[in-house]
């Protein structure tokens, strides 16, 4: 019984841990997904922000150059000389004549402004949209020339940037941008796929998050890439999560320990009681043996004629009862022993009605005193082959229980029936009955529904022993549901 409940407790413990772990994992993975989603979201936003900032930067540059429109030629020359970002300036009027630089020979025009032919086409193709400015990238000897053009009603202005200064300025500007890459890696690739600028530690492995945005003109073909590995949980919530799990584990452990120690104490108490009963029983055995010995001696020495028949009958009763007491004590001692098989069954045929009568006989005076009527509905008229002592002991237990716990009953009913070898006796009282939840517990050793001292005394062993005996006899003892009071059903297998 104890092992079983321990197992149950262990199972409970395991289940709780498992449940908590499972829930935790589920929660964690859900949070992971949420975190990843929010990280992707944030990365997207950061990348978008950077993209917008870069666009702003370009617009800022363009506005810078736009101011050169309608400036006089000296101002243009001064700007060309002073601005390291500007490599060359070309100003055309509406009929595409070169206004600036003022002295250009045809050879120079051919060499320096090769791109002019291409840009003219480019310009024309866009007349539908009437763009006022734009970028043109011209490749010459593996070098890109960044050319910004802007026009108004009277002029077309072309500004060829100094590539290195433009790139240098861009890098300088980038270096002043806050590092939005944390904790990931943000990289700008140029149109040849080379790393142009980067933030954070390079991630070469396949990152969880890999987002890409393209930059607009003049950085056509450039890309902004963001790589990041999602962190499973943020450090804070990870710590919190671990704390909760550990806390739960500790709580469950404490509860288990408390339950376990209560259980163990109960078990110890039961053991103590049992060993007490054992010792007492052993102590009782010696005087009982003496009583039996001297009873026998007395019966042999006394002549039956010398003493009155009444005394002889008393002597016989003393002998019989002391023998029964011996058996009872043996049974108690055996019940406590590990192996129940040492209990032995001694079956002998007897008219069942007689056995039943003998079982009830000792209780009759008490029942009469308590004004309890005993109604016997015996359906077994034949002899039965069962152990008399066991039967009587079980019946005595049941009847003494009624005497102790159901004394308010006005009548008790004993019904018997036989089905093949199975003998069934149902004992019903009219007491307050036993609640459903105690139906099994009352059979446990030393279990008492009310253990207060004021209540009727008992060892708590009786029903358990009775059930063990019944089972030993191939039957059972159960509390069965009935309308009034408690209803015990005893079954015994007849020895064939």
């Amino acid at each position: 019984m104890n092992n079983k409940s321990n197992l149950l407790l262990l199972l409970l413990f395991g289940l709780t841990i498992g449940l908590v772990g499972w829930l935790g994992l589920k929660l964690a993975s859900q949070q992971d997904r949420q975190i990843k989603a929010s990280q992707i979201d944030r990365s997207e936003q950061a990348l978008l922000l950077m993209q917008n900032n870069i666009n702003e930067y370009i617009i800022q540059q363009q506005e810078h150059f736009n101011q050169l429109l309608n400036k006089d030629l000296n101002a243009l020359q001064a700007r060309l000389n002073s601005d390291p970002m500007i490599h060359d300036i070309l100003l055309l009027n509406l009929v595409d004549q070169i206004v600036f630089p003022s002295q250009v020979n045809p050879l120079q025009q051919q060499n320096s402004y090769q791109w002019l032919n291409n840009i003219a086409i480019h310009d024309e193709s866009n007349t539908n949209n009437q763009p006022k400015s734009g970028w043109f990238i011209w490749y010459q000897q593996q070098t890109e020339k960044y050319i910004f053009w802007t026009m108004n009603d009277s002029q077309k202005l072309f500004i060829e940037l100094n590539n290195a200064m433009f790139m240098g300025d861009f890098i300088h500007w980038l270096s002043q941008q806050p590092n939005i890459a944390k904790p990931g890696y943000l990289v700008i690739n140029d149109n040849q796929g080379r790393t142009f600028y980067q933030w954070g530690k390079e991630l070469t492995a396949k990152a969880d998050i890999n987002i890409q945005k393209h930059l607009s003109s003049p950085f056509t073909g450039w890309s902004l890439r963001y790589y990041s590995n999602t962190q499973s949980l943020s450090t804070l919530s990870k710590g919190l999560f671990q704390l909760i799990i550990i806390g739960l584990l500790i709580l469950v452990s404490i509860i288990t320990y408390i339950l376990f120690s209560i259980k163990r104490r109960e078990h110890q108490e039961a053991q103590q009681r049992l060993s007490f009963v054992n010792q007492v029983s052993h102590e009782l055995k010696t005087p009982l043996t003496n009583i039996r010995l001297h009873g026998d001696l007395l019966a042999r020495t006394l002549n039956s004629t010398e003493i009155p028949a009444k005394s002889m009958q008393s002597l016989n009763i003393i002998q019989q009862e002391s023998e029964r007491l011996t058996r009872l004590i043996n049974n108690v001692l055996n019940f406590n022993s590990v192996d129940n098989s040492t209990l032995s069954i001694h079956c002998s045929p007897i008219p069942f009605s007689q056995l039943l009568e003998e079982s009830i006989e000792p209780f009759k005076p008490k029942f009469e005193q308590l004004d309890i009527a005993v109604i016997v509905n015996n359906a077994i008229n034949s002899d039965v082959n069962i152990d008399h002592d066991i039967f009587k002991q079980i019946m005595a237990n049941l009847l003494s229980n009624i005497e102790k716990y159901a004394a308010e009953s006005r009548q008790i009913t004993l019904s018997t029936k036989q089905n093949a070898d199975l003998i069934t006796v149902v004992v019903q009282d009219q007491g307050e009955g036993i609640q459903r939840k105690f139906h099994e517990k009352i059979f446990r050793p030393f279990y008492r529904i009310k253990s207060d001292l004021t209540h009727a005394s008992g060892s708590g062993l009786g029903l358990g022993l009775a059930r063990e005996l019944a089972r030993l006899h191939g039957g059972d003892l159960q509390l069965i549901p009935c309308e009034t009071g408690a209803c015990f059903e005893l079954t015994l297998m007849e020895d064939s």
Partner: protein, 466 residues
């Protein structure tokens, strides 16, 4: 020894310069004479001359216009120019260990030589470039040194960004009376940002336009010497190859020595060719020009440095006995000591003759030496290119021819020793072509080629020879 040789050479040159200048003056109009006092300006000495005073009449002739500029040691010796230096340090992973320790020590040494009048900044780069000491006057050298000591090496190599950031720091205190310079120390290939030699050349050109020079120090055998020389060359800085980090301190010394000895800055040279004269190219420089007017500049001249600019041109056919003005030269520069802009004008002319002997006699062999040196240097670049392409035999053949060409020029040379030195240098290149340590040799060759192209101060050769 080397120093004495150099001074002898310089002495010889200046004597020659005076004679040619007088010869030039006698041939040209008197307008040159009012400019005469500026010949004695404190910082620079100029010598403008044509390779041929007389040419054969009747045919188109090739000739060279040469401008020698010699930096005279500052007379105000105690007062060196103020500097505005951005130290740009490669701290990528490859720099870790001894290299970094030595680099930091060299940097500390350099910084300790600066005074509160100087501006300095420190940029480090790996994956990205960071300004760890923004440009400021050197009021707190100890904190600067602490910043240097805190540098750790790791990451990749964003060289372009590093130099860019350095130049932005310089620009905070950009001042034409200061020597504005980025000193780049790198041991690796650029792998983040623009990283092709021509891209860095363009950056150098752009910075040069703002009067910022970049001196590049290539450390070890892993850096890209083409990239480093292009960057330095186009911004008129110095280039050094340092194989072992323990030589870094010497190099920094040498570099600071140059910076501190700057006597003139922003030397703008304007050559206006007369009609009929066709300018072809400036030797060793890639200025593009299309008209008669050629503009170029040097960022600075160091004390005791001698630089020359040689313009190749075509003279139109002339009649016997005729004189012709060839070109007018105007040079403007900032005198570092006087802190004011000075200028210098000169003109050159040529006489047409029928006499071969006269032509031969009037040849300026000093200028032809320049051309010889330049051409041999160009051939050696071609040799390196062939070697790069794997054509070892072609490279060897071309270099052998280069050496024999040089040897033939020995007899007519004004300074045979200079040609002899170059022959030795070219022979070294020939020897190293099929050597196992070509990588190292190539870096040495690039450095020597660089020095010829940019007339980097001779004193630097000392550290090289150690």
């Amino acid at each position: 020894m080397v120093k004495t040789m150099n001074s002898i050479k310089r002495l010889m040159l200046s004597t020659l310069a005076v004679t040619t200048a007088i010869a030039g003056a006698s041939n040209t109009q008197a307008s040159v004479i009012p400019n005469q006092p500026q010949h004695q300006s404190k910082a620079l000495q100029f010598d403008v001359a044509l390779s041929n005073l007389s040419v054969l009449a009747g045919t188109q002739q090739k000739a060279y216009l040469n401008i020698d500029i010699t930096g005279l040691p500052s007379q105000l010796k105690k007062q060196r120019p103020k500097t505005n230096i951005a130290f740009v340090l490669d701290k990528s992973g490859s720099m870790s260990g001894q290299k970094m320790i030595q680099a930091k020590q060299a940097l500390e040494m350099a910084v300790s030589k600066l005074t509160p009048n100087d501006v300095a900044s420190l940029v480090v780069y790996d994956d990205e470039a960071r300004v760890i000491w923004p440009a400021a006057t050197m009021q707190h050298p100890q904190q600067f040194l602490n910043t240097i000591r805190s540098i750790d090496a790791n990451g990749s190599t964003a060289l372009f960004a590093g130099v860019t950031q350095g130049s932005f720091e310089i620009r905070k205190y950009l001042d034409q009376n200061k020597v504005n310079r980025v000193i780049l120390l790198s041991d690796g290939m650029a792998n983040v940002g623009p990283s092709k030699p021509h891209e860095l050349a363009e950056l150098g050109r752009a910075l040069s336009k703002q009067r910022i020079s970049v001196s590049t120090i290539g450390l070890g055998l892993g850096y890209n010497e083409d990239l480093m020389t292009q960057l330095a060359g186009h911004s008129d800085g110095n280039h050094y190859f340092v194989e072992n980090a323990d030589k870094l301190a010497d190099v920094f010394n040498s570099e600071l020595g140059d910076i501190f000895s700057v006597v003139a800055q922003n030397i703008q040279i304007n050559i206006n060719c007369r009609d009929g004269v066709k300018p072809i190219r400036i030797l060793g420089r890639d200025e593009h020009f299309t008209g008669q007017n050629i503009k170029t500049n040097f960022n600075q001249i160091y004390g005791n440095q001698k630089r020359h600019l040689t313009l190749e041109l075509l003279l139109p056919p002339g009649t016997n006995g005729a004189q012709m003005d060839v070109a007018d030269v105007t040079i403007a520069y900032n005198d570092a000591a006087l802190k004011q802009q000075l200028s210098f004008n000169d003109s050159v002319a040529v006489t047409y003759t029928n006499q071969d002997q006269q032509v031969e006699k009037d040849k300026n062999s000093m200028i032809y030496d320049n051309v010889t040196t330049f051409e041999a240097n160009e051939v050696s670049k071609q040799v390196v290119r062939l070697r790069d392409e794997g054509d070892l035999e072609g490279a060897k053949k071309l270099q052998s021819q280069n050496i024999s060409n040089l040897s033939q020029k020995l007899s007519g040379s004004a300074a045979p020793q200079r040609i002899q030195e170059q022959i030795e240098q070219e022979e070294q290149l020939l020897d190293s072509l099929d050597k196992a340590d070509w990588n190292k040799a190539r870096k040495q060759v690039r450095q020597k080629q660089y020095k010829i192209d940019n007339q980097q101060s001779e004193q630097d050769d000392d550290s090289d020879n150690k």
